[in-house]
Protein backbone atom coordinates (compact mmCIF):
# COMPACT_ATOMS: atom_id res chain seq x y z
CA UNK A 1 0.00 0.00 0.00
CA UNK A 2 1.16 3.52 -0.77
CA UNK A 3 1.63 5.61 2.37
CA UNK A 4 0.91 9.36 2.22
CA UNK A 5 4.58 10.27 2.69
CA UNK A 6 5.52 8.07 -0.30
CA UNK A 7 3.11 9.70 -2.73
CA UNK A 8 5.29 12.61 -3.82
CA UNK A 9 8.21 10.34 -4.72
CA UNK A 10 5.95 7.83 -6.46
CA UNK A 11 4.44 10.55 -8.64
CA UNK A 12 7.80 12.14 -9.44
CA UNK A 13 9.77 9.03 -10.36
CA UNK A 14 7.43 6.05 -10.43
CA UNK A 15 8.43 2.84 -8.73
CA UNK A 16 11.78 1.42 -9.78
CA UNK A 17 12.06 -2.23 -10.75
CA UNK A 18 15.78 -2.22 -9.87
CA UNK A 19 16.89 -5.19 -7.75
CA UNK A 20 20.14 -4.06 -6.13
CA UNK A 21 20.07 -7.03 -3.74
CA UNK A 22 20.20 -9.57 -6.57
CA UNK A 23 23.87 -10.42 -7.10
CA UNK A 24 24.03 -11.74 -10.62
CA UNK A 25 27.26 -11.89 -12.61
CA UNK A 26 26.88 -9.76 -15.75
CA UNK A 27 27.24 -11.74 -18.98
CA UNK A 28 28.60 -8.70 -20.83
CA UNK A 29 30.89 -5.76 -20.08
CA UNK A 30 31.33 -2.36 -21.75
CA UNK A 31 32.96 -2.75 -25.17
CA UNK A 32 31.54 -6.24 -25.82
CA UNK A 33 29.95 -6.70 -29.23
CA UNK A 34 26.48 -8.17 -29.02
CA UNK A 35 23.51 -8.94 -31.22
CA UNK A 36 19.91 -8.27 -30.22
CA UNK A 37 18.09 -11.57 -30.58
CA UNK A 38 15.55 -11.87 -33.36
CA UNK A 39 12.52 -12.75 -31.27
CA UNK A 40 8.88 -12.04 -31.95
CA UNK A 41 7.08 -13.01 -28.75
CA UNK A 42 3.32 -13.25 -28.48
CA UNK A 43 3.52 -11.52 -25.09
CA UNK A 44 5.10 -8.33 -23.79
CA UNK A 45 8.63 -7.24 -24.67
CA UNK A 46 10.73 -4.08 -24.33
CA UNK A 47 12.92 -5.05 -27.30
CA UNK A 48 12.02 -2.62 -30.08
CA UNK A 49 11.24 -4.27 -33.40
CA UNK A 50 13.79 -2.17 -35.29
CA UNK A 51 16.67 -3.42 -33.12
CA UNK A 52 16.01 -7.15 -33.47
CA UNK A 53 18.83 -9.07 -35.12
CA UNK A 54 21.02 -5.94 -35.14
CA UNK A 55 24.60 -5.69 -33.88
CA UNK A 56 25.57 -3.27 -31.15
CA UNK A 57 28.20 -2.54 -28.52
CA UNK A 58 27.67 -2.64 -24.75
CA UNK A 59 28.04 0.93 -23.53
CA UNK A 60 27.15 0.63 -19.86
CA UNK A 61 25.80 -1.84 -17.31
CA UNK A 62 22.80 -0.31 -15.48
CA UNK A 63 22.60 -3.07 -12.87
CA UNK A 64 19.94 -5.68 -12.17
CA UNK A 65 16.22 -5.15 -12.91
CA UNK A 66 13.02 -7.15 -13.10
CA UNK A 67 12.48 -8.75 -16.54
CA UNK A 68 9.35 -7.21 -18.14
CA UNK A 69 8.73 -10.13 -20.52
CA UNK A 70 8.00 -12.51 -17.64
CA UNK A 71 6.73 -9.94 -15.11
CA UNK A 72 3.95 -8.91 -17.50
CA UNK A 73 2.54 -12.44 -17.47
CA UNK A 74 2.81 -13.59 -13.87
CA UNK A 75 5.89 -15.66 -14.73
CA UNK A 76 8.15 -14.18 -12.09
CA UNK A 77 10.70 -11.38 -11.72
CA UNK A 78 13.59 -13.16 -13.47
CA UNK A 79 15.96 -10.33 -12.39
CA UNK A 80 18.86 -9.73 -14.75
CA UNK A 81 21.33 -7.09 -15.91
CA UNK A 82 20.15 -4.25 -18.14
CA UNK A 83 22.71 -2.69 -20.45
CA UNK A 84 22.80 0.48 -22.47
CA UNK A 85 23.69 -0.79 -25.95
CA UNK A 86 24.95 1.47 -28.74
CA UNK A 87 23.65 0.80 -32.24
CA UNK A 88 24.94 2.67 -35.27
CA UNK A 89 22.10 4.32 -37.21
CA UNK A 90 23.54 2.84 -40.42
CA UNK A 91 23.23 -0.66 -38.94
CA UNK A 92 19.62 -0.04 -37.89
CA UNK A 93 18.26 1.73 -40.94
CA UNK A 94 20.81 1.27 -43.72
CA UNK A 95 21.90 3.87 -46.25
CA UNK A 96 19.31 6.62 -45.68
CA UNK A 97 20.41 6.96 -42.05
CA UNK A 98 22.55 9.99 -41.21
CA UNK A 99 26.18 8.81 -40.99
CA UNK A 100 27.49 9.45 -37.49
CA UNK A 101 24.21 9.03 -35.58
CA UNK A 102 23.81 6.27 -33.03
CA UNK A 103 20.99 5.05 -30.80
CA UNK A 104 21.51 3.89 -27.22
CA UNK A 105 18.88 1.35 -26.16
CA UNK A 106 18.43 -0.14 -22.69
CA UNK A 107 18.26 -3.91 -23.18
CA UNK A 108 17.82 -6.81 -20.77
CA UNK A 109 20.38 -9.62 -20.74
CA UNK A 110 17.90 -12.13 -22.23
CA UNK A 111 17.52 -9.92 -25.33
CA UNK A 112 21.21 -10.25 -26.19
CA UNK A 113 23.64 -12.82 -27.54
CA UNK A 114 27.40 -12.51 -28.10
CA UNK A 115 28.36 -11.42 -31.63
Amino acid sequence: MLRPEQVEQAVKTGGSTRRPEAWITPRFKPGDIVRARNRNPVGHTRLARYARGKRGVIHQDHGVFVFPDTNAHGLGDKPQHVYSVRFEAQDLWGDPAPGPDAVYIDLWDDYLEPA
Partner: protein
Amino acid sequence: MNGIHDLGGMHGFGPIVCEKDEPVFHAEWERRTFGLLTATLALRRYNIDEFRHAIERMDPTGYLESSYYEHWLHAIETLLIEKGVITKQELTTRTAELAKGAS
Protein backbone atom coordinates in the same frame (compact mmCIF):
# COMPACT_ATOMS: atom_id res chain seq x y z
CA MET B 1 4.59 -8.38 -28.76
CA ASN B 2 4.27 -7.40 -32.41
CA GLY B 3 1.26 -5.23 -31.67
CA ILE B 4 0.58 -1.64 -32.64
CA HIS B 5 2.33 -0.46 -29.45
CA ASP B 6 5.91 -1.46 -30.36
CA LEU B 7 7.99 0.79 -28.16
CA GLY B 8 10.29 1.60 -31.08
CA GLY B 9 7.48 3.35 -32.92
CA MET B 10 7.21 3.42 -36.68
CA HIS B 11 7.52 5.73 -39.65
CA GLY B 12 4.76 7.45 -41.56
CA PHE B 13 2.94 9.56 -38.98
CA GLY B 14 4.53 12.87 -39.97
CA PRO B 15 6.61 15.24 -37.85
CA ILE B 16 6.31 15.47 -34.07
CA VAL B 17 4.77 18.87 -33.41
CA CYS B 18 5.90 20.40 -30.12
CA GLU B 19 3.30 22.51 -28.40
CA LYS B 20 4.52 25.85 -27.00
CA ASP B 21 4.21 26.02 -23.19
CA GLU B 22 2.64 22.58 -23.19
CA PRO B 23 0.72 21.98 -19.94
CA VAL B 24 1.38 18.77 -17.98
CA PHE B 25 -2.27 17.80 -18.44
CA HIS B 26 -4.66 19.03 -21.12
CA ALA B 27 -7.81 18.17 -19.17
CA GLU B 28 -8.81 17.35 -15.62
CA TRP B 29 -9.59 13.72 -16.53
CA GLU B 30 -5.97 13.27 -17.63
CA ARG B 31 -4.80 14.37 -14.18
CA ARG B 32 -7.24 11.90 -12.59
CA THR B 33 -6.03 9.12 -14.89
CA PHE B 34 -2.40 9.76 -13.90
CA GLY B 35 -3.36 9.52 -10.22
CA LEU B 36 -5.47 6.44 -10.87
CA LEU B 37 -2.49 4.53 -12.27
CA THR B 38 -0.21 5.48 -9.36
CA ALA B 39 -2.91 4.54 -6.84
CA THR B 40 -3.87 1.24 -8.46
CA LEU B 41 -0.22 0.18 -8.93
CA ALA B 42 0.19 0.76 -5.20
CA LEU B 43 -2.61 -1.77 -4.61
CA ARG B 44 -0.25 -4.33 -6.19
CA ARG B 45 -3.08 -6.04 -8.05
CA TYR B 46 -1.09 -5.55 -11.24
CA ASN B 47 2.38 -4.29 -12.13
CA ILE B 48 3.78 -1.77 -14.63
CA ASP B 49 4.63 -4.48 -17.17
CA GLU B 50 1.09 -5.87 -17.12
CA PHE B 51 -0.07 -2.27 -17.59
CA ARG B 52 2.12 -1.79 -20.68
CA HIS B 53 1.00 -5.14 -22.07
CA ALA B 54 -2.65 -4.11 -21.58
CA ILE B 55 -1.94 -1.12 -23.87
CA GLU B 56 -0.26 -3.43 -26.40
CA ARG B 57 -3.38 -5.58 -26.43
CA MET B 58 -5.60 -2.69 -27.53
CA ASP B 59 -7.42 -2.99 -30.82
CA PRO B 60 -4.94 -1.47 -33.33
CA THR B 61 -7.47 0.91 -34.87
CA GLY B 62 -8.65 2.10 -31.45
CA TYR B 63 -5.05 2.55 -30.36
CA LEU B 64 -4.21 4.83 -33.28
CA GLU B 65 -7.37 6.90 -32.84
CA SER B 66 -6.97 7.55 -29.12
CA SER B 67 -4.67 9.76 -27.09
CA TYR B 68 -1.85 8.95 -24.67
CA TYR B 69 -3.97 9.13 -21.51
CA GLU B 70 -6.86 7.33 -23.22
CA HIS B 71 -4.42 4.42 -23.63
CA TRP B 72 -3.71 4.62 -19.89
CA LEU B 73 -7.39 4.69 -19.00
CA HIS B 74 -8.15 1.77 -21.31
CA ALA B 75 -5.38 -0.32 -19.72
CA ILE B 76 -6.46 0.57 -16.15
CA GLU B 77 -10.08 -0.41 -16.93
CA THR B 78 -8.97 -3.65 -18.62
CA LEU B 79 -6.78 -4.70 -15.69
CA LEU B 80 -9.18 -3.70 -12.91
CA ILE B 81 -11.83 -5.89 -14.58
CA GLU B 82 -9.44 -8.79 -15.32
CA LYS B 83 -8.12 -8.76 -11.75
CA GLY B 84 -11.63 -8.71 -10.29
CA VAL B 85 -11.33 -5.32 -8.57
CA ILE B 86 -14.42 -4.07 -10.44
CA THR B 87 -16.84 -5.76 -12.81
CA LYS B 88 -17.56 -4.73 -16.37
CA GLN B 89 -21.16 -4.14 -15.32
CA GLU B 90 -20.06 -1.74 -12.54
CA LEU B 91 -17.93 0.19 -15.02
CA THR B 92 -20.74 0.38 -17.58
CA THR B 93 -23.31 1.45 -14.97
CA ARG B 94 -21.06 4.10 -13.42
CA THR B 95 -20.03 5.45 -16.83
CA ALA B 96 -23.70 5.81 -17.79
CA GLU B 97 -24.44 7.61 -14.51
CA LEU B 98 -21.57 10.04 -15.06
CA ALA B 99 -22.64 10.63 -18.65
CA LYS B 100 -26.04 11.70 -17.30
CA GLY B 101 -24.33 14.25 -15.06
CA ALA B 102 -24.26 12.40 -11.74
CA SER B 103 -21.28 13.05 -9.49
